[in-house]
């Protein structure tokens, strides 16, 4: 015989805890970036369409897209965070990890491969000590492999900080590397 009255209780649905507040986009981003956001938003009948251009603008300011930055973008566009995260992770141009001050994309596709792309990748390894998806310890340079950049007729091509360097050879790449600050 048990003493006392144990209370099994009547189970009810749990109220979900309020999610932690997302960072305020207007505090997270500079005024110029917010202005760019606003300008992108205006040109679509549905604001969600501005997401990818806005992610570019956010990355232009921050250098990469941290979790916090992505949350701020989600808050700005009033989208569920998971929807923003899935989009950011789909597109290779969005860096979800910190990158160096410079980012060099070396095209590794067929036309560039036929005209010496592997030697260029090797040059970066030799001169900077990094391979693809790696960053130099001093934070100067991140190396990435790109798929066809559309510079096939001027192969091999490196997209360095958003500028196409075309018709490259090993010597020119060494010079580019030396000039990086």
């Amino acid at each position: 015989m048990t003493a006392g009255i144990p209370t099994a209780g009547i189970p009810m649905p749990k109220k979900a805890a309020a999610p932690p507040a997302a960072p305020d986009p207007r505090r997270h981003f500079g005024a110029e970036t917010i202005a760019r956001f606003e300008s992108w938003k205006r040109q679509y009948p549905d604001e969600r369409a501005a997401l990818i251009p806005i992610l570019h603008a956010a990355q232009d300011e921050k250098g990469w897209l941290s979790r916090e930055t992505l949350e701020a973008v989600a808050a700005y566009l009033k989208l569920p965070f998971i929807r923003v995260y899935e989009v950011a992770s789909f597109y290779p141009m969005f860096h979800l990890r910190a990158v160096g001050r410079h980012v060099a994309w070396v095209c590794r596709n067929i036309s560039c491969d036929l005209r010496g792309a592997s030697a260029i990748v090797e040059t970066f390894r030799r001169k900077c000590g990094i391979g693809p998806d790696e960053t130099t310890p001093d934070g100067k340079l991140t190396l990435k492999l790109a798929e066809c950049l559309g510079g096939c007729a001027s192969a091999p091509v490196v997209d360095l900080d958003g500028v196409y360097r075309e018709n490259l050879d090993v010597a020119q790449v060494e010079k580019l590397i030396a000039e990086l600050k």
């Binding site: 015989m1 099994a8 009810m12 979790r67 569920p80 998971i82």
Partner: protein, 499 residues
Amino acid sequence: MTKVTIDGRVVDVPEKTTVFEAVRGQGQVLPHYCYHPGIGIEGSCRVCQVEVAGPGKMPRRLAISCRTECAEGMEVWTSSPPAEGARRMVLEFLLKNHPLDCPICDKAGECTLQNFAFDTGQGRSRSHEPRRQLRKRVDLGDVILFDEERCILCTRCVRFQEVVVKDPQLGVVNRGTDSVVATAPAADGGDTPLHGNYQGNLADVCPVGALTLKKFRFRARAWQLQATPSACSFCSRGCNTIVETFRGSIQRIRPRFHPDVNKWWMCDVGRFAFDDANDRSGRLASPVVRRGGVLEEVDYDVGLEEAAKALKGAAGPQLLALASPFFTNEEGEAFRALCATLGAAARFVAPPTADPDELLHTGDPCPNRRGLTDKGLVVSTPDEVAALVVSSKAALLAGERVIDALELIPGGSVFLGNAKLPCIVTERRLVERDGVVACLPAANAFEKSGTFTNVNGLAQPIRAALKRPPGTLSDLDTLVRLRDAVLSSGHAKPAAAHA
């Protein structure tokens, strides 16, 4: 209606029926993953392929049956060599990276990858490549454990959250063969846990053992489970369920499809609240009466007689008669009859209600409020019972967790301490109070059969999935015999047993 030919047979189907559903209507379930009638058509898994010709002059070709609408004169071949070959190829692709986890995977035995591969697949893989390796125990909160490697990216889980619960929490992250289903990353670097009252459905809709219930992990094999169709007793929706037991304990509860009540879903409250029912400790296994100040176990003849005597002595309007809110319609009727005999108002205690949740839970934890009130029992709000508690001299409490319900009422537990309690029909508690005269064993909702009337007035059967403690009578039997005993002035008359 539209006429189509399926495997040589001409069939009439309603307009706009998909080939998949038309074929299902003929008794054949084509392999399928991304399609779920409650979630929608996606068209990405490609496994439901058949051959179709038409409408009109469109040539014979492979098509996914989930998205192809039947058109007049269309011809369908479900098991031609191209159709079977196409499905077999899709399965070979899916099995290339799928881990060989069957021996340790909960889904084994009810896994549609196993089943469809067995029916359609080729038995051997041609792959010599190392399998993709991912995280195998992703903690997604209280309910779900996620094995990334087993996932075949059917996206049912993602779309379930989006479309059914309307609360997006899952997504597909990365691209191509690096794709994984995931929740958003949390600030601490882990995965945001799932929230909400419908997480259990994710394990139901997952065709493989990727999303599994923590509560069911390694408890039993699917083929060991004894399935009892029933209905949920934790709110007035009455979601249809399948209660699955093994070695006399409930291992799992799953929803059962009902087009008007709960469709394919049930909430986590009803899905997981069976630990109490499995806990056999402290169950009353026989009637108990107070003899010489001490509660003693007795047999039913004695117990019923003592209870009847005590009730007769307390009969009248000052007898507070409270039924459990979990009584079936049949028990409610028997209780009403007993109370009529005792001259007491038949009431039942309704636990406090809350707002309805996002989908199914009505907010009213009483599964049979309509049924019991239809039978003439008076629903007593907590405030009303609190007032009655003050003015009553004795109480008849009957049924599962009536004491829990009472304890939720202001003054209820004080009352339990002070007043005379000539009779309690209870499943568990042996109440050590001076006022208690007789306790008769009660059953819980998993141990009885009967009907509940849900919030919309639909009477639905529940079926016992567990056995009562051996030798005990059902609540229905107990109430009927109690009334007989009261009527027959002290002689305990054995009445015919009811089921």
